[in-house]
Amino acid sequence: MLKTTTLEAMLAAYPELAVSEFRGGTRVVAQRGKLFETLQWFLCQRGFDLLVDITCVDYLNYRDAKDRFGLVYLLASTETNERITIRVYLNEPELSVPSVVSLWEGANWMEREVFDMFGIVFDGHPDLRRILMPDEFTAYPLRKDYPLQGRGERHNFPVLRRNQA
């Protein structure tokens, strides 16, 4: 739950943020250009010291959706128990956002996972490699236009026979 004071301070600092409520949680849609600044403001001014998760949603073929990807940052403050969801919409070909590893160390693997699954590039990430899929994998499997059963990558291995081993 977000405190009213936090909400007011946020709207005073960033009047362009679109705020909505859902089941007691506060959601904010940030602009891509101002994402890093907004997140930094939450960390430094309001003490949101815990980055719970970074994840992404692919809105391809989703009803009433205007944008392709929604990148979601879940923040929490261990001091005041406040929580907030910050979302930024991304469209091809501009699939890059600044990395927040400099703000929260824990963002390192989360950003690698989002990069691995959705192909979102985090500028300034210290080590942006795939984290779950093999390095030679080329697709981004959680995108909605990637088939569930893959494109045959899982069958693409040498076969060992009895007499070869």
Partner: protein, 185 residues
Amino acid sequence: MALELPENVVVSKLDSLANWCRKNSLWPMPFATACCGIELMATGASKHDLARFGAEVFRFSPRQCDLMIVAGRVVMKMLPVLQRIWQQMHEPKWCISMGACASTGGVFDTYSVVQGIDRFIPVDMYIPGCPPRPEQLIQAIIDLQDKIQNEGTITGEEFELKSRQATKRALIELPVIQTPVHLLR
């Protein structure tokens, strides 16, 4: 030639003696990647007691093992590891594919899960179930023991070689003897 043998001496073939030794001292390599691994552990534990079948010595080094038990799903990133471990095991060696996932991919028909390890490494025995109960694994080991006793490894490569040489040598060295018809059964 008649041999006078004492009662406690049995004549056998070296092959079946070797197979008999092999089948009763299987050293499993537990390749347990998922929930089936829990049943594998239960099989080795005291209640089900795999030691009754001489297969209780689980080794975590492939160089000391001759039975690979793949228990659980294998994903794309794990498959090269599986193949490497299989290659590191010494002949003669056998493989049990335990559970639906290892045998077919199970319910995980997705981009990253290998749809059955038998596509990429040889498998001697499949165990159905999700997960198979320890009794099923024990049954598979008993069946595998029968198989080892009768066939050696799955293709019997080492025996094949020997028998191939044997027929060759027989052709070269020995005269062909016609068996009298009345002796054929």
